[in-house]
Symmetry: C2
Subunit: 430 residues, 2 copies
């Protein structure tokens, strides 16, 4: 089989004509498909419906310690839910604050707090001329939006199959005092699906930051979000590793049940050192009297503990696996050997990351849109929405049905091919 | 009857001996009472228990517009809940964003946003040398804590039975560009229980702020929290009044169902101009994907609409009224004519405000504590916790049972008397 690049102009034109024909046919069909958002599918939402019966008019609304979850109190979350979320994040209960429905909101609050009042007493970032964050790319668009909103300069850090380029991370963090943070999704990363290697995690823990107020924003969003029963990624406990390395305060760990129970109606948590928690407490107890403890009770009465959560996640995996495989199988069948794209094969999380030929991502997304299929904007996985190679596309297979995913991937493949042919022809004629 | 001040030294000493005796007797009883927190009582929480059955495994989880509340979406709240909360706040649905469980959190976010990024494009407050807030006193301690945390200078504004001293408010707001905000609880104010007069509300709307980024923080926390069926306070619609006065963007209105459904598990809302909402949107959509829509659905399916909420509030009133009356009757029976204290007689809200003789509040709180009764710290109702007169004490009658309230008030009265006698004797001997 020839790669597209090996084809001569005539072959490319012939291929283009054929693909154009297919494109026109698809255009008339009025598709309406969406591979953009990392939303659980309806069948996944149904898995958690029994949770809504767990707390009812007859329920004892008290925690194990006897506190009434219906009233004010327990600003850091009810004990049993803190324990469960600690289990999820692989940390100790004492290091966990259970918050509201959104871990993104905790991250936003953490950045804002540092902006206005600094980190554990350091100079507020808003008083500094330069504040920089490192951004492993491709990464999560909503992380980048937070730092962008607060005018924090973002620096791209390339990722490979082991995680971020740690030589570069060390070079920045250990030498530049204006580097104050790094966004990480260490497990089943958004969007690549890769998991940081043990060595990468340990190199993170052993950073020697030039800035005392440097923090790792460790968004362990997909910590128990495996797709397979038999092959599961695990990472070292970053809190412990940081402590061992003499950097106990260097990391904030975030997580939520948004993709365990319900997006928007789950519980979120932050895990960090006791010293960091003391500082956070001062702000959080001013910000809010307490988070939704009835919902915390609902979660812990439903899942019982981390083992219950893991069992539940197997059901999610059973629903997600066919969707991932539908995409992966079709990509493999249709694109292997053509030299016009590569993609990741995640063992968990919510995304597949596709690398087109450089300069083709925007064209692919635009063509898909023309066919009635929504993809995440090209560039969205990079700070400022700027993919320097214009090659990365995030595929979210979770929301459509497996049948829709096959249909969507078919259209996607068609657009990848067409964009590649057009790019090659344009390059040759340039 | 003689006032205490009219008594001679001998009479005061005799009275003191008698009160000391009573105090000692009470001290041995090991009381454990609390009039400190504005928490609903257990019987009030029970009123909302049926709400927990409204959403269950068999529920249609879609909004009237067909959106699945279990999934991401509707950052500004589901339509039917926005309508209901608009009804509660007396504004139009389009001006409302329904948020999470805490209106305090929205206020905090609003202040923080202004600190870091300014108000609708103004200079961020953190870049200014002086930022001031006006604080009608006595007021809500948690408001003051927010502005204190961010080093915003707070200026006391005296209140009378019509609301804040508007001459003073106008003088500050209309002449000092560093005055950026004012904390208001316009209805059944915390802690005085007074409601702003129509004239006061209109004078607020007609302010001519020197600072373009001046905002009124209108915490309508007790908007439907009447105690009586027949005598209910109402206030003009501040959003409309501001619009009429040519100040459409000058006010943020806040409210929640914390004391309608469950503290900590209710829904909160902000109501403001469309222009302000546009600015807020930019931040809120970066901060969070969406708030807890299942809980919004739960609330709106239970209450149906504002009429349903009002019906529900009558049940709360029936439970609160006897507690308020227990306190008020005892204060009246025991303290009238003695010249050692005055108090408010609210028609709604959660508090009674007590004014002791100047210089006695701390002593009263401390004496109560000695008897095993917790009161809100003296001074808490003032910025920086400093009551210049040392005279204000906030009484929260909601949480104890009516019987406990009688007992608590009896002890309170004893401590008020004892503190007054001691103060008078100390003054004479000075």
């Amino acid at each position: 089989m020839k790669t597209y690049a090996e084809m001569n102009e005539q072959e490319l034109f012939a291929l283009k004509a054929e693909l154009d024909e297919q494109f026109k046919t698809e255009e008339t069909k009025g598709h309406s498909l969406n591979m953009a958002r990392g939303k659980p599918g309806v069948s996944q939402l149904s898995l958690s419906m029994p949770m809504l019966n767990v707390i009812n008019i007859d329920s004892d609304m008290h925690t194990l310690l006897g506190n009434d979850t219906r009233n004010y109190g327990d600003w850091d979350g009810i004990g049993e839910c803190r324990r469960m979320m600690a289990g999820m994040l692989g940390v100790k209960k004492d290091n966990v604050i259970v918050c509201g429905n959104s871990s993104l909101n905790i991250m936003y609050d953490t950045v804002v707090r540092s902006m206005v009042k600094g980190v554990n007493g350091s100079t507020p970032w808003c008083k500094l001329d330069h504040v920089k964050f490192l951004c492993p790319v491709p990464g999560y668009d909503r992380h980048f939006k937070i730092t962008e909103l607060f005018d924090i300069e973002m620096i791209n850090i390339p990722m490979d199959e082991n995680g971020p380029d740690m030589d570069l991370v060390e070079q920045y963090v250990n030498n530049d005092a204006s580097v104050k943070g790094i966004w990480c999704v260490p497990k089943y990363s958004n969007p690549t699906g890769i998991t940081y290697s043990d060595e990468v995690v340990r190199r993170f823990a052993n950073l020697k930051p030039k800035a005392e107020d440097f923090r790792i924003f460790w968004d362990n969003a997909y910590c128990i979000h495996h797709i397979y029963d038999d092959i599961q990624d695990e990472i070292p406990n970053i809190l412990e590793e940081c402590e061992k390395a003499g950097n106990p305060n260097m990391v904030y760990v975030f997580g939520s049940t948004s993709k365990v129970s319900f997006p928007g109606s789950g519980v979120s948590a932050i895990a960090t050192s006791l010293e960091n928690m003391d500082y956070i407490k001062k702000f959080m107890t001013t910000q809010i009297i307490g988070h939704d403890k009835i919902n915390q009770l609902r979660h812990v009465r439903f899942f019982k503990n981390i083992e219950g959560m893991k069992e539940h996640m197997k059901k999610h995996a059973d629903l997600l696996r066919p969707k991932f495989e539908a995409v992966l199988n079709l990509l493999e069948a249709e694109l292997t050997g053509l030299g016009i794209g590569s993609w990741t094969k995640p063992r968990g999380g919510y995304f597949i990351s596709f690398e087109s030929m450089p300069g083709c991502a925007k064209a692919i997304v635009s063509k898909c849109k023309q066919l009635g299929m929504v993809l995440t904007d090209a560039g969205a996985t990079f700070p400022y929405g700027k993919d320097p190679q214009d090659s990365n596309i995030r595929i979210a297979p979770s929301f459509p049905t497996p049948e829709e995913m096959v249909e969507a991937t078919r259209l996607f493949v068609l657009c990848v091919k067409l964009a590649a042919v057009e790019k090659l022809l344009a390059d040759r004629q340039a």
